[in-house]
């Protein structure tokens, strides 16, 4: 029996079956075994081992519960998985796992176990059960010390929760098989200590970036290929299923990406959990673990980020001249009475004996008539801001401390400019840089607003922590009239009259998407989009903060704000 490519399937190097166990019930040609020797290591039934997955940085650990050979001479293993804490971190709740602790999969659902080709096994692993369950023999000190991993709890893949008590049966196997064996053989073999570094060595090929990455993530089911899996096994003996996957679009795997993936691991891991179980369907019976699959979706991250980064570099140059023009235009000095007043003030400050730098440090305390604020019932802000914009009295202050309150901003303006104003701080959004605080300020008259802007632009108002307040004419954004919102889709369906009222309600109530709907998959694409942009915003933030620090360090704060009080 040969696979589609014509080669004899199932010829593996270094392989020998061990003890026979019997034949399959349904298909007499399927032979079951109890042990085998592969690459010089003997594996027994119910041993734990490391398994390799395409594109995953870490190996997965699983317990061999069945090993058999098909009539086609394919050798396969059935493996029940152990979860690493990072893989289930969203469901841990308050549980604090130890550094080498795993969770045994239980329950029913995706991620519990897999049938994998035998070649995916990497090496033996020593997993000791430390649970206080009566059926579990307690491990000895030495066993604990020599164990690679321990497990104490089970993770139910159906309910997605940590269980302290083990069920009686896990995937058709009695749970006692998973516990420590009585009269435990010493399984630890030193040469396997390094097995989990093997995948990195195996990634040798480096393909050129394909345009695949620029496509949307939904195509990524095909992206997962086994192109660089196990190069040492000759192509002749490649199980035919793996080769099928190879024919699909090649993916990109520069080894450097793994480093970036580690950083992005945090962001993508959660998606892996959800998407992984769905994408399983697309490539049947490949070496897939509980969450092998959407690893590759992360690949689009670094590239998109890079693209964004390049564009950002370009804009560094562009807006600058534009902005400077704008500020200078607003600071056309309108020589009015008020202006003269300012000039006098400046002259006064200059005369006051300045030892190092500018005039006196102004301590911003509460405005004299601060009490008054509490008396008047205020109009709705929207209205006020709109009016102010029309009258030209609206000013936008930027680079404030984000923790300032509206009242503090008003006090600040009172002390700095001797003007009574109304202020409203702009709330922190999750998107922009947290460092900058902004506020919209309404002045009494257009002229005062104008002068304030002029003054703030001509001189520099420096705040205690090295911030220089910027001022601009405030413009509010147009409200979203069309109710344009990307992402909510409608299709021409049965006209709503014919829909039964329950169905109508069902569509319009808020709900969590169920896993088996298209809606769910699309929602995951959106979540990916969000995460991608989160990464971009963070990168931008970091870059901006660095630039700020650079400039701040040049500003000699001590000379401006003498350290007296």
């Amino acid at each position: 029996m040969s696979g589609p490519s014509g080669a004899k399937v199932g010829d593996l190097l270094d392989f020998k079956w061990g003890i026979r166990r019997g034949v399959g019930l349904k298909n007499k040609d399927v032979r079951f075994f109890e042990s085998f020797v592969y690459e010089g290591v003997e594996y027994f039934l119910y041993d734990s081992a490391y398994f390799y997955h395409d594109h995953l940085l870490e190996t997965s650990v699983g317990k061999l519960v069945k090993m058999y050979e098909r009539p086609t001479h394919e050798k396969v293993l059935k493996v029940v998985w152990f979860f690493r804490p990072s893989e289930v971190r969203n469901f841990l709740g308050d549980y604090q796992p130890r550094w080498n602790e795993l969770f045994l999969a239980s329950g029913a659902g995706k991620g519990l176990s897999n049938i994998t080709p035998l070649e995916s096994i990497m090496g033996k692993c020593n997993v000791v059960c430390t649970s206080k369950d009566k059926r579990n023999p307690e491990p000895s000190e030495t066993e604990l010390k020599t164990a690679d991993f321990t497990f104490n709890c089970a993770f139910d893949v159906g309910r997605r929760a940590i269980l302290d008590t083990f069920p009686d049966v896990i995937d058709g196997i009695e749970v006692t098989r998973f516990f420590n064996r009585k009269g435990e053989r010493n399984l630890s073999k030193p040469l396997h200590a390094g097995t989990d570094t093997r995948p990195k060595i195996r990634i040798k090929t480096r393909t050129s970036p394909s345009t695949m990455l620029c496509q949307q993530v939904e195509d990524n089911a095909e992206v997962r290929t086994s192109e660089n899996v196990v190069p040492k096994i000759s192509s002749d003996s490649f199980p035919y299923k793996k080769r099928k996957a190879e024919d699909e679009n090649p993916t990109l795997n520069p080894s450097s990406e793994y480093l970036m993936e580690k950083e992005l691991d945090e962001k993508g891991a959660k998606l892996r959990q959800d998407k992984g179980v769905n994408r399983c369907k697309k490539i049947t019976e490949l070496t897939t673990g509980p969450n092998a699959n959407d690893e590759s979706s992360l690949h689009s991250f670094p590239f998109k980020k890079r693209k964004l980064g390049d564009e950002k570099l370009i804009i560094n140059e562009r807006p600058d001249p534009g902005k400077i023009n704008r500020s200078s235009s607003t600071s056309q000095p309108n020589k009015s009475l008020k202006d003269k007043e300012f000039d006098e003030e400046v002259a006064k400050l200059r005369q006051e004996g300045r030892v190092k730098t500018c005039g006196k440090v102004i301590e911003v305390t509460e405005r004299p008539d601060a009490e008054r604020r509490k008396w008047f019932k205020k109009m709705h802000w929207d209205q006020r801001l709109q009016e102010a914009q029309e009258m030209g009295t609206l000013v936008l202050l930027s680079n404030l401390d984000p923790s300032y309150t509206s009242n503090e901003v008003e006090d600040l303006i009172w002390h700095a400019l001797k003007k009574k104003v109304e202020a409203r701080v702009i709330e922190l959004g999750v998107k922009s840089n947290d460092y900058y605080g902004r506020a919209l300020v309404i002045f009494k008259t257009k002229d005062t607003a104008q002068n304030a802007m002029t003054e703030l632009n001509r001189r520099c108002l420096v705040l205690g922590d090295g911030r220089v307040v910027g001022a601009r004419r405030g413009t509010l954004t147009e409200p979203n009239k069309q109710g344009e919102f990307h992402g909510h889709l409608t299709i021409d369906r049965i006209p709503s009259k014919r829909l039964r009222p329950e169905m109508r309600n069902a569509v319009s109530t808020s709900h969590c998407a169920q896993c088996n709907t298209i809606e769910y998959e699309m929602a995951n694409e959106w979540l990916l989009q969000y995460k991608k942009y989160d990464a971009s915003w963070e990168a931008l933030s970091k870059k901006q903060m660095k630039e700020i620090e650079d400039v701040k360090s040049k500003l000699k704060m001590d000379s401006i704000f003498p350290v007296t009080s």
């Binding site: 503090e408 090295g466 220089v468 344009e484 969590c512 969000y530 401006i560």
Partner: protein, 198 residues
């Protein structure tokens, strides 16, 4: 009259009980939010954050006050795990715990001293301060740009998904129609194939 410290403490407590929702459609109203979240926790207050300065088709954001901070954690983790739809599909909303700076009517932190100082053009540090101002403006422009990019990307994704959805639904409609009007049965008779009923 509560002292400043007490007021602030009460405010902080409120903040810990509040969830910040993001990516809300403009059609989401207070009542929709309320009914949605009441499925999981009692809602004490809903406040939308007005978008004064961002791009005009930025999704809405809202602050929802619940009755305990434990509930906040639950809601946030649930919305983090399962995509939650409000007033439309398939774009999910996002939630995170609120922070003090998200409230525009927050009380002052007690014992905070703000200092400020004017710098004149002939000050040694004036140039540096001016550079700082320029930097602020540049950063604001960058932020605006990324916002724009983000909205464009979202639009693209939405369009793509819309197309995919339409093709799917057309396909299904087609299937439905040939089953309904008997074409499938006729063809099956021709080819001597069995057609399952429904």
């Amino acid at each position: 009259m509560a002292s400043a410290a007490e007021k602030y403490a009460a405010f902080e407590e409120k903040v810990s009980r509040t969830v910040y929702f993001d990516n809300l459609s403009p059609q989401v109203t207070e009542s929709v939010l309320r009914t949605a979240i009441e499925q999981f926790a009692t809602v004490k207050g809903v406040k939308f954050i007005p978008n004064y300065l961002g791009p005009s088709n930025l999704p809405q954001c809202a602050l929802i006050e619940l009755d305990s901070s434990k509930k906040v954690k639950e809601v946030v983790s649930m919305i983090g795990q399962y995509p939650f739809m409000m007033s439309g599909m398939p774009r999910p909303v996002r939630a995170r715990p609120a922070v003090a700076e998200m409230f525009d009517d927050r009380p002052e932190k007690p014992d905070r001293k703000i200092k400020c100082c004017w710098l004149d053009p002939n000050d040694p540090d004036f140039e540096v301060a001016k550079e700082m101002k320029r930097l602020t403006q540049k950063h604001a422009a960058e932020v605006e740009y990324v916002h724009k990019l983000q909205l464009l990307d979202e639009k693209k994704l939405a369009e793509q998904q819309g197309e995919a959805l339409n093709t799917h639904s057309k396909k299904l409609k087609l299937l439905e129609s040939i089953m309904a009007d008997g074409t499938a049965k006729n063809l099956a008779k021709r080819y001597n194939l069995g057609v399952a009923d429904e």
